[in-house]
């Protein structure tokens, strides 16, 4: 840290909790950054001359006579093209042994885009994974999380999506990432020859949890530089937002705030929305697309973190193991992409919306038949066929190891309809059935 001549140095801390400390100081601004005993801290409360600072690395070992230096600045990141290919910690300092970044110093967590200066997201992102492309198509400028239990391969799927998405930059915001997962991302991107397109801001499980709070703002400040200033298509990966929220709750508890549901702060919705709403399509062509991970505990989506996230994001991708085929699938019932209707049937083939809906409806019929079977009832012929269909559909389209183009997905679906059902059972608009129903039957 560099101390400058005009900076006042304080050495009398009056209060210390696990995450915060307070002192008497004047001329301090709200949300200003400071150093406490050499650790980065931020002003969170000012009452007269009593200033409370949140110390990101925790307060262990901080003495009451520790040196406190205020920087006079909110959190910032130096932005320039030099960011590309680099790995940083939560404070934006290089952790790859490389030199510090030269560039314009920008505030992180800055103001939002004027809604009237946004453009409607409109570019289809093909990932090859039918569970996403066919049923939950992604669009540039969208924000969408994976909802998954910790044992699901969400980081793998996310890395695959990132690499296939044809983004100009991929920005990884890792929060509470295990070192193994961090190395996994590094390797995958390296093997794909994509390292020069990647920028990482990582807080691993080795680092103090409260530091995580800085990661999304850092990642998104870099994203705004490339998307807004440079007109690039930027994909931001945030994993794991549940661990981010845990850090929020640690801080709010230390500050004696009244917790709301699941001991999360009452402002959780606004806190998460501020991050996710950075996703944007600019009229000039640049975009920020956010793909996040929200881990669940025992699949419970009513917990405050997934619940608030669901209310903010434009859908969610739900991973689950399908025991019938022994593979992880993108669950068509709980998954949703809210922006899909902007592109499906427009940038993809016209039959896309109806095929998607029909297949899911038939998959639901199979689920009902399965319940019937479990309850000990006889299955009708239709039930049997629906269950057969469900298996093939799951294997050929929903499984996360699928990699085909969108038209092939539609053809595959029509093939399955033809194999298992009549046209009336599939109930797709006649003009489409006439055109796309495979030849040779009914």
């Amino acid at each position: 840290m560099e101390t400058q001549a005009f900076q006042k140095i304080y050495t009398k801390i009056t209060n210390i909790t696990k995450a915060t400390c307070s002192l008497n100081a004047t001329g301090v601004g709200n949300e200003e950054m400071a150093f406490v005993h050499g650790r980065k801290a931020q002003v969170v409360k000012i009452q007269g001359e009593d200033v409370t600072l949140q110390v990101f690395a925790g307060t262990e070992g901080i003495p009451t006579n520790a040196e406190v230096v205020f920087t006079g600045k909110p959190p910032t990141l130096k932005v320039s093209d030099e960011l590309a290919g680099r790995f940083f910690d939560a404070y934006g300092d290089p952790m790859d042994g490389g030199p510090a970044i030269e560039g314009e110093e920008r505030e992180t967590g800055g103001p939002s885009v004027n809604p009237v200066r946004r453009m409607q997201p409109s570019d289809y992102i093909a990932t090859g994974i039918a569970g996403i492309d066919l049923n939950n198509s992604l669009v540039t400028g969208q924000k969408i999380p994976f909802f998954a239990d910790p044992d699901q391969p969400f980081n793998q799927v996310m890395a695959t999506v990132a690499l296939r998405a044809e983004a100009d930059k991929i920005i990884l915001g890792g929060m509470g990432l295990t070192n193994d997962d961090y190395l996994y991302f590094k390797n995958v991107f390296d093997n794909a020859g994509a390292l020069d397109r990647i920028i990482s801001f990582v807080n691993t499980t080795d680092n103090p949890p409260v530091e995580r709070l800085l990661v999304p703002d850092m990642a998104l400040a870099a994203a705004e530089y490339f998307a807004h200033d440079k007109g690039q298509k930027v994909l931001v990966l945030l994993t794991d937002m549940t661990l981010y929220s845990d850090a929020l709750s640690i801080v709010s508890n230390r500050m004696d705030q009244i917790p709301s549901k699941d001991s999360m702060p009452g402002s959780l919705y606004s806190d998460l929305a501020k991050i996710y709403e950075k996703a944007v399509q600019f009229p000039e062509g640049g975009s920020i697309t956010i793909i996040a991970v929200t881990t669940l505990s025992g699949g419970d989506i009513t917990h405050a973190v997934p619940d608030n996230t669901g209310y903010i994001t434009e859908g969610q991708l739900f991973l689950r193991k399908d025991s019938d085929i022994g593979k992880v699938i993108v669950d068509p019932f709980r998954s949703l992409s809210r922006l899909k209707q902007l592109v499906i049937g427009k940038q993809t083939r016209e039959d896309h919306p109806q095929v998607m809906n029909a297949a899911i409806r038939l998959f639901a019929d199979a689920a009902n038949a399965k319940t019937k079977l479990e309850n000990g009832f006889d299955l009708s012929d239709y039930d049997e066929r629906a269950m057969d269909f469900a298996k093939s559909y799951s294997d050929a389209l929903l499984a996360i190891d699928v990699n085909i183009d969108t038209t092939q997905m539609l053809e595959t679906a029509w093939g399955l309809f033809d194999k298992h059902f009549t046209k009336a059972e599939v109930a797709i608009r006649q003009s489409l059935t006439e055109k796309y129903w495979p030849e040779g039957k009914k």
Binding site: I46, P111, H228, S270, T302, N375
Partner: protein, 590 residues
């Protein structure tokens, strides 16, 4: 509001997020607006609590960088909106700043823009004549704002009776030009122009009477019109877990509902959803008038990333704009998505003020706040005998999708229509996911609304609605029995009953909001489909076994749905109608 004319000043002494403590040098009023100086900008804030010499204000902007000692200037008035021609088709933020007048891509803290256009000329027509006695809200003249005949009124703040001295001749005027002079009983004269201001948290009550609403408002949405209709001036709410279709339903209402003006308040929701409106509405045509939908739409938005304190203001801003147009004798539809975000904003502030929390840490007076807000909607007779209405429909986003939570419960007490979105229906893509059994419209019980439906839709329309609801209920009961006893453990009749309910569900309830044709259904079309569906349910069919029931009804439903997807009364429509007829004849009991 204060006797004293001198402006009160103060200095900042404390900052906790957007709650700022100010030490003042004179009188301040609860809810008074002040500006806090920060660098070159002024941050707008509202007084929310006063204890001794500490005045607590909530700042409508980020307080980053604000320091104790910053100067504060109090304004002597509450949060107000500026009313006048030019509101329609505007995109406002929650404080009524015109977003299009801001040049930069990113919102600039402390940038406030005038909500109307001072340079624009309007074609003014006088209405009042010299010598007439007038009170607040009386129509002095009118200008054409798109298709809306925008009345220029005696300002709502003018509490006495006045005599019109003069009204200008027909011609082109700007909003700041004087268009009339009126005189109070002491002979004091007032120049009236086209602008007036009104504090958003107070209701505009320049009307004679607010009877129970009775005129049914056509929405084009079958699950509403054909099952739980809402009235002009009615209130309704749409609770539902995330992703179940609240916003899609509200947008459908904004596109199709029969109203003169639609005010869409995007309160703490996604910016992209607002973008959708101002991208699509300028292209879409209002089927009733042939004009562009945007010509009758105003957006008030405080999206979830915009400052939280302004979120509360946004719903009040929307309501006050609606009241202004209702006083002009118009039918306004006000939509707010989502009122839960507003309640959360109240909660955040109440927590920072360290108030005693109520259930789920919401403020104790949440219920009263919500009830008070809904009570501002309604159908009114104006003092000149004309009518106006504000229909208000809000969404509610219950935590965890559980309706037993304070915002849903408080809203249920205040709103008369309940459109409950159901997760299971949404999961199985039965859109709109309105639960047909839990949802209700209290207006169906109003004799005056029943009379209106009899006279305007059909003699037995209410009975038909009730019958359709009953079919849905009986179908559900039958389904439960089938699930317990098995397909062959129940009489065939149970299967038929179940499929009757599926018929109502698929043909009437379900409606594809993204299909060009199906998305909107005229009342004539709805009554025809209702008759057809009920007719099938009244018909006896021959079935050998339960296994024949399902395929038969599936085919009938499929043909009916093709009808729904075809242009009304087109050749295709008639050909599918024939198809239905043919299928029915095959099995009809002789």
């Amino acid at each position: 509001m204060k006797a004293n004319d001198k402006k009160t000043n103060g200095v900042v002494t404390g900052i906790i997020a957007n709650l700022v403590v100010v030490k003042v040098d004179g009188p301040v009023a609860q809810n008074e607006i002040c500006y806090i100086k920060l660098d070159k900008s002024n941050l707008m804030a509202e007084v929310i609590k006063i204890t001794g010499d500490k005045t607590f204000v909530q700042v409508f902007e980020s307080t980053r960088g604000l320091k104790p000692g910053a100067e504060v200037e109090f304004q002597g008035h509450m949060l107000e909106v500026t009313l006048g021609p030019g509101i329609v088709s505007k995109n406002y933020d929650g404080l009524q700043n015109d977003l299009d007048k801001m040049d930069s891509t990113f919102l600039v803290r402390g940038e406030y823009t005038f909500p109307l256009d001072k340079e624009r000329e309007w074609d003014f027509e006088p209405i009042a004549k010299a010598g007439e006695k007038v009170t607040a809200g009386a129509w002095l003249g009118a200008v054409m704002e798109n298709r809306i005949k925008h009345k220029i009124m005696v300002p709502f703040k003018m509490a006495d009776q006045y005599t019109v001295k003069s009204v200008v001749k027909a011609g082109k005027y700007k909003i700041e030009d004087t268009i009339a002079v009126i005189e109070d009983k002491n002979g004091k004269t007032f120049d009236i122009n086209m602008i007036q201001k009104w504090p958003v948290k107070q209701a505009i009550t320049a009307f004679k009477e607010k009877p129970r609403p009775f005129k049914v408002m056509e929405t084009g949405i079958r699950a509403i019109d054909s099952l739980n209709p809402i009235t002009e001036g009615g209130t309704g709410f749409i609770p539902g877990p995330f992703g179940c279709g609240k916003t899609v339903l509200q947008h459908a209402l904004a596109k199709q509902a029969d109203a003169d003006l639609i005010i869409v308040t995007a309160c703490g929701e996604r910016a992209n959803e607002v973008v959708e409106i101002f991208t699509e509405f300028p292209e879409l045509v209002d089927p009733r008038t042939g004009d562009k939908l945007y010509d009758r739409t105003t957006i008030v938005c405080n999206t979830s990333n915009m400052p939280v304190a302004a979120r509360e203001a946004s719903v009040y801003t929307g309501m006050t704009l609606a009241e202004y147009y209702r006083a002009q004798g118009l039918k306004v539809l006000l939509l707010a998505d989502s009122t839960s975000r507003w309640a959360q904003a109240l909660r955040e502030m109440s927590n920072r003020l360290e108030e005693l929390p109520g259930q789920d840490a919401f403020p104790m007076d949440l219920s009263a706040t919500i009830a008070n807000f809904y009570s501002r909607a309604g159908f009114v007779y104006l003092n000149n005998g004309e009518t106006g209405a504000i229909t208000f429909i809000g969404t509610v986003s219950p935590a965890g999708g559980n309706l037993k939570e304070p915002v849903t419960e408080s809203t249920a007490k205040a709103a008369r229509c309940f459109y409950a979105l159901n997760q299971e229906r949404a999961d199985s893509k039965r859109y709109p996911a309105i639960d047909p059994l839990d949802s209700y419209s209290k207006y169906l019980e109003y004799p005056e609304a029943q009379d209106y439906l009899k006279a305007n839709v059909g003699e037995n329309w209410v009975e038909k609605i009730m019958e359709a609801k009953n079919l849905l209920l009986r179908g559900k009961e039958a389904k439960e029995q089938i699930n317990i006893l098995g397909d062959d453990g129940v009489p065939i009749d149970y299967h038929i009953r179940f499929w009757h309910s599926e018929l109502v569900d698929f043909v009437i309830l379900q409606q594809d909001a993204f299909d060009e044709i199906d998305s909107s259904s005229s009342m004539e079309r709805q009554t025809i489909m209702m008759d057809k569906v009920l007719n099938v349910c009244h018909t006896e069919f021959d079935f050998e076994s339960f296994e024949e029931v399902t395929p038969f009804f599936k085919e009938v439903i499929n043909s009916f749905r093709q009808m729904n997807y075809s242009e009304f009364k087109s050749d295709k429509y008639y050909s599918f109608e024939k198809e239905v007829e043919a299928k029915l004849s095959e099995r009809r009991t002789a």
